[in-house]
Symmetry: C2
């Protein structure tokens, strides 16, 4: 019997703004950070680790929200959560007083993600499997039982979800074997941060190509001439056969987005990511109509399943970029993957930051094996930062992910990293704040 | 010279769950609460008071968010904020690290509302005018200068906003005089909380009618038979000439909403409010198409101007229910009122709770005088709870609001109420938590 007896919430921040790693048009100087949730159990040595990703200031607000959610987990037995996980999720995201602060969006939803994913880490460790395998081996009914269908029934019913999952049952073992043989398709964002100069991006493009990458993403912004120059450098280095994606991180108006994308169309971008406000479903539809065959991608700031539902039913996006910890954890991500499967749109999970790559190797594998069931146009994002702080860092080489075989959800930090980067009392920050 | 020298953030909670005041289908037991922001200035006796409304647990998270925003106001001179208030708002809502936690939604946006509205209170006190008069007397260009048009340019440009405001310039003095003579149209929600039994709602309906109310709102929920019974009681007491509105507080799926509304159609509801998820623009369009001529209303949980933009352009709502402190304060509310004016949809501000009535008397008056410019179908919500805790409580009688003539934004709490209901250390909560 495994009982959750305590919750530890941590504020961990890395000073990435110093090197402009991660810089983009909306976020010029992120300090990649995590609001961490650790579930302590009655079993010695068995914990559950989750986190939500932030970029510096405000991580303490997410920590406060995780602390507000602790009454929904402390004292629970793992087996009781497992018996009806959708109900467990609903109790947390549907608590009327806390729900008022969203509902199901922003800080309270980010915090719910950390807690729910920590439960998954615990479940998977107890089962001695990685999360991706745990889900991939479940029966369709059990996966349906993970999902809160509230407010998406008009587009995805439990019966439809069950049918999609049952249909993907065939070939699961073969897809697992093939993934373990050939890896999980990926792309890298490490070469194209906005704060890097032309020489650095050309050098990084070359290094990426020689390291085996077949798809790269570049940040673009408000300067049309600079966008075109950067895209041309990328296309020169990538050649005609590799994919170039571009990412505006929400800085454009609808009309600007259309103009800017057309301006770089000669470099054949595979997709334009976050061209406008992430809340603007109808605006994405306008952009998509105007720039096709260039695809429109969004999702890392898409707040919940209700928004994804509309992006899909309005045919406003071509690529579904789920985020492991902006949606309320794995359960809501599975709901969105099922809707993407229904509309036959590829899921390309958002990553980078800190911990997101560790998380999304599981999401990408689950989509491939159990939900989407296809490899075509699916790619998991990768950025090569901060993996050294995890107990079980991702294995990415030859341009693909090699999903972990270790138990859990892979976002447990090393004790030494926590001691150094805990904010404001870790050794790094004590020294930095003193200076 | 008025300088903001300190910020005080307070957690104030009222134990309203004990009496089921405010109970609805989604929120069975709210404890009406406020995360308060008080700006202390260099001028003795001159403060700015703002708040965001919450319903209990999690108010401390909003307080943490207000504290995270203090660097954006401390040290500023009021005249510098006044010189470009849109830029002031953008610095706060656009700070890249904090913006990641929304963007522009949830806890960080609720906190921004408290701070921005506190600035308006300060501005209005310094000008010795109520906020509604301060805005109503501004020139069109100055009002346009309050608005952050980011991500709404495709539907409302600064030029269009200026034209709307200029058009409403004629007749302002007459509309002010008429409002002061006849009051600001209103409706009451006090009779129809879901937790009240049939006898109580019948008695409260009768009291409301004899007190002069011409429009009442009732909470409805999942029980079709009970909904019909409650609506019939209301219609019997109201007679055919008064308006009955119904409010489902988001509990239905799209299909359920259509079924439930048709089930009570014989009682001729004026509008159905929050039938489904507040994020579901396309779903509201489906409901609106199916239940007309019954109107669809939403907005109290509408997170920002980008969502309202889409509700309006998709013709998904008929009534625009702005919230004084879920949108980022008065500035973003003005942006939404302008879009509503463009689409010729009535603005009916959300209120009730604690402090919301005090706030929205100003919004309703501003829309009437300077933006919408019309009385037709406009009504400001009223609920008769907790007004005794404010220094300048609303004056509502004969079924209408009588907007305040006192300086400020009207949400400053009495010192005694703060001392009693501050959580967890006010005298009420110390005793209650001990018990």
């Amino acid at each position: 019997m495994i009982e959750i007896v305590a919750v530890e919430a941590l504020d961990i921040r890395f000073p990435t703004s110093k090197t402009l790693d991660g810089s983009d048009a909306m976020n010029p100087n992120p300090d990649y950070s995590a609001a961490v949730c650790i579930l302590k159990t009655s079993v010695d040595g068995l914990d559950g680790h989750g986190m939500t990703f932030t970029i510096g200031r405000g991580t303490e607000i997410c920590v406060a929200a995780i602390e507000a959610l602790t009454p929904f987990v402390i004292g629970l037995k793992l087996e009781d959560i497992q018996a009806d996980m959708a109900a467990f999720v609903r109790r947390m995201t549907g608590d009327s007083q806390l729900r008022w602060l969203g509902p199901e969006k922003g800080v309270v939803h980010l915090a719910a993600a950390a807690v729910i994913n920590a439960v998954w880490d615990l479940w998977a460790r107890a089962a001695e499997k990685p999360v991706w395998r745990l889900i991939s081996e479940m029966e369709a009914d059990d996966i349906v039982g993970l999902i809160d269908f509230r407010h998406i029934h008009d587009v995805l019913s439990p019966e439809e979800a069950r049918a999609i999952l049952a249909d993907r049952r065939a070939g699961r073992a073969e897809r697992i074997a093939k993934m373990q043989r050939e890896g999980l398709a990926a792309y890298t964002t490490s070469a194209g941060w906005l704060g890097y100069d032309d020489d650095k991006i050309r050098r990084l493009c070359r290094e990426a190509v020689s390291a085996g990458w077949n798809a790269l993403k570049f940040k673009v912004g408000m300067d049309a001439a600079q966008n075109l120059k950067r895209c041309r450098i990328a296309r020169e280095e990538l050649g005609p056969g590799r994919r170039l994606m571009i990412d505006a991180n929400q800085v454009w108006e609808v009309g600007e987005a259309i103009t800017h994308v057309r301006h770089v169309a000669e470099t054949s971008p595979w997709w334009i990511e976050e061209p406008i406000s992430p809340d603007d479903i109808l605006g994405h539809r306008k952009v998509a109509d105007a720039v096709r065959p260039i695809r429109v991608a969004t999702g890392e700031h898409c707040q919940n399943r209700v928004m994804f539902k509309q992006f899909l039913e309005a045919d406003a996006i071509d690529v579904v970029q789920i985020d492991a910890c902006r949606l309320a954890g794995l359960n809501e991500n599975i709901a969105v993957m099922l809707m993407a499967a229904k509309f036959n749109k590829p899921v390309c999970p958002h990553a980078g930051g800190v911990g997101l790559c560790e998380y999304v190797q599981h999401l990408g594998a689950i989509d491939l094996i159990a939900i989407g069931g296809a490899r075509e146009d699916r790619m998991v994002e990768f950025a090569g930062h901060l993996h050294e702080h995890f107990r079980d860092p991702v294995d990415v080489h030859d341009g693909v992910y090699w999903p972990t075989n270790n138990p859990g959800f892979s976002v447990a930090f090393l004790a030494e990293s926590i001691a150094t980067y805990r904010y404001p009392n870790g050794s790094y920050w004590r020294a930095a704040l003193r200076a």
